[in-house]
């Protein structure tokens, strides 16, 4: 964005003043202890960092969490809570300032300001995507699967840290190798890295000065690589296009997903051998990097589900429907769909398919007669545990003639577009809203709420359009009856 010349000086002054305010606040807290646990997975890595904070000033309530550039680039989900509480805290992100400290700042607003020496435990959960990769890159059909995780070691913070410890936990106690960083004697006297079962513990590191600066990162930050066996397929959804179509006359919500599924494990070395696959299936010893089937947890009360790909209908699926639950009920009921692609997905293979279903509109939508607003909740995605969705697009198609449309996504989309969708019996077309997202994880399971108005006169648009069509036919018939086409009287 290029600023006009008259705005540049005030903008620089504003940035300097606000940055100096932030810098001044780096003396308002200190970290008595930081413990980070990195839970390694397939396409997702769940990181939980607990900060034990002590306030050094009175009335401070804004705590800055810093992530390094690489880490921030991989972070797709960031949530901060107080230890023992469920309510997430309000977080604002500051974009990376290339002239400053080489970190991304997340400003967490504590619920109550702390007085001097007041303490609180802050738990920050983040999910990293594309932080692991298969190594070796290729694997034969019956080989094992191993992945490498690469990340920065030390937890950065703009405040002084008395002690910090980082634990990297693999899903199974089968760690092939891990980095032992060197030249960290300034912060630790003991062994830097110890392995115990499935966990590699780095630290404890003591007396770390404020570390959210390029100088500290350049001098002390270390890169660690952990190489581990992973016993489950690495599922990646390269693209998800979800279309939710609302029908008021049919009291129906149709959700259709066009999914490009990818096995992000090691690519298959050599040819696919059907015999080998049959024998593995027979003895129930499928290699860990093969995806033979997927299980989806779909909403309760659905019907008329369909699953097809480019060739046509795919019959290798089984759906067990749970009964409908009322709108907004806190229920953990779900319908289970076990889906087998046409072929087992070997490493590096893709499969494109469409999966859709209908559900009663009353299960997701409500109507407020006093204001005339309808409100509907559409899930962003059907979560597959441990899978990442590289690109997602959710299109919500409203009834024809809907007005006063409000869209409330649970997290910020990358883009939001409005368009008109034309389908059966439409005259002016249906308003549609398309939201795009990137790098969704299994934590991104919220609902997109939409509000809109459709008065009765607008509802009658469709029957009116069809009636006019019939009327035109009758008019033609009326006139045609009066035309005499006989050849002789």
């Amino acid at each position: 964005m290029v600023l006009p010349s008259w705005l540049r000086l005030p903008a620089i002054l504003f940035a300097t003043i606000s940055w100096s305010l932030v810098s001044a606040s780096t003396h308002s807290f200190e970290n008595t202890a930081i413990v980070r646990t990195v839970d390694l997975g397939g396409s997702l890595v769940h990181v939980t960092t607990t900060y034990a904070i002590r306030a050094l000033d009175n009335g401070v309530n804004r705590y800055i969490v810093s992530l390094g550039e690489n880490e921030a680039r991989s972070t797709s989900w960031f949530e901060a809570k107080l230890k023992g509480q469920n309510e997430p805290l309000s977080v604002t992100t500051r974009p990376l300032d290339p002239t400053s400290d080489g970190t991304h700042s997340y400003v967490v607003e504590l619920p109550k300001p702390l007085s001097v020496n007041g303490t609180v435990n802050l738990v920050v959960e983040t999910v990293l995507t594309h932080a692991t990769y298969p190594w070796p890159k290729k694997a034969a059909q019956k080989d094992d699967q191993s992945l490498k995780y690469e990340g920065d070691l030390l937890v950065l913070s703009p405040y002084k840290t008395w002690t910090q410890r980082i634990k990297v936990r693999a899903p199974a106690p089968r760690i092939i190798s891990y980095t032992t960083p060197d030249s960290l004697d300034e912060f630790t006297t003991d062994q830097v890295a110890t392995k115990s079962g499935a966990t590699v513990t780095y630290g404890p590191f003591s007396n770390i000065p404020p570390s959210a600066s390029t100088a500290f990162i350049g001098k002390h930050q270390r890169h660690v690589v952990v190489h581990y066996y992973f016993g489950h397929p690495v599922v990646e959804i390269a693209s998800l296009k979800r279309v939710a179509e609302i029908s008021h006359w049919g009291a129906n919500l149709n959700i259709q997903n066009d999914i490009v599924l990818r096995n992000a494990g090691p690519t298959l070395k050599g040819q696919f051998a059907r015999i080998e696959h049959q024998s593995q299936t027979f003895y129930n010893r499928l290699a860990p990097h093969i995806i033979p089937s997927l299980t989806f947890h779909l909403p309760p009360g659905i019907h008329s589900a369909y699953y097809y790909d480019l060739n046509g209908n795919v019959s290798t699926s089984r759906l067990r429907v749970a009964p409908s639950v009322p709108k907004a009920a806190q229920s953990n009921q779900y319908s289970t769909l076990e889906l087998r692609p046409r072929y087992p997905l070997m490493g590096g293979w893709n499969y494109t398919f469409a999966l859709g279903w209908d559900s009663p509109l009353a299960d997701s939508a409500g109507y407020d007669a006093s204001t005339g607003f309808y409100v509907l909740g559409v899930p962003v995605q059907t979560v597959i545990p441990g899978a990442v969705v590289n690109e997602a697009e959710v299109k919500i198609i409203f009834p024809e003639g809907a007005t006063d449309i409000g869209v409330f996504p649970p997290f910020d989309p990358t883009t939001e577009q409005r368009s008109t969708h034309i389908t059966y019996l439409d005259t002016i077309g249906r308003p549609a809203v398309t939201l795009s997202f990137k790098n969704l994880t299994d934590k991104h399971d919220g609902l997109i709420y939409v509000t809109y108005k459709v008065p009765l006169s607008v509802h009658l648009r469709k029957p009116k359009a069809v009636s006019i069509a019939f009327g035109a036919l009758f008019l033609v018939a009326l006139l045609a009856r009066r035309v005499d086409l006989s050849l002789s009287k």
Partner: protein
């Protein structure tokens, strides 16, 4: 628009408290309604073809209007009952 919620928390609460959506016509009745309305449309269309041709086609026009109106609703009900929810 002042009546609509403006924040995510507000719309989530709004979604929870408002009554569930109910259609004008119960969904189970749509297929029967489609049959009745379209049969009536067909009957009236047949009757239309038997009417005498008068200079001012009042009767024909009235029959055409009623048949069109019934046909309009009948087709919408037909679409919904076969699964194409319009």
């Amino acid at each position: 628009m002042s009546d609509s919620p403006t924040t995510y928390a507000a719309v989530k609460h709004f979604h929870k408290v408002v009554p569930a959506f109910t259609p004008y016509v119960p969904v189970g009745l749509l297929s029967y309604l489609a049959f009745i309305l379209l049969t009536a449309t067909f009957g009236l269309a047949f009757y239309f073809t038997t009417l005498s041709k008068s200079t001012i086609p009042t009767r024909e026009a009235m029959v055409a209007i009623v048949a069109s109106a019934l046909g309009g609703f009948g087709v919408v009900a037909l679409f919904c009952s076969v699964g194409v929810c319009v």
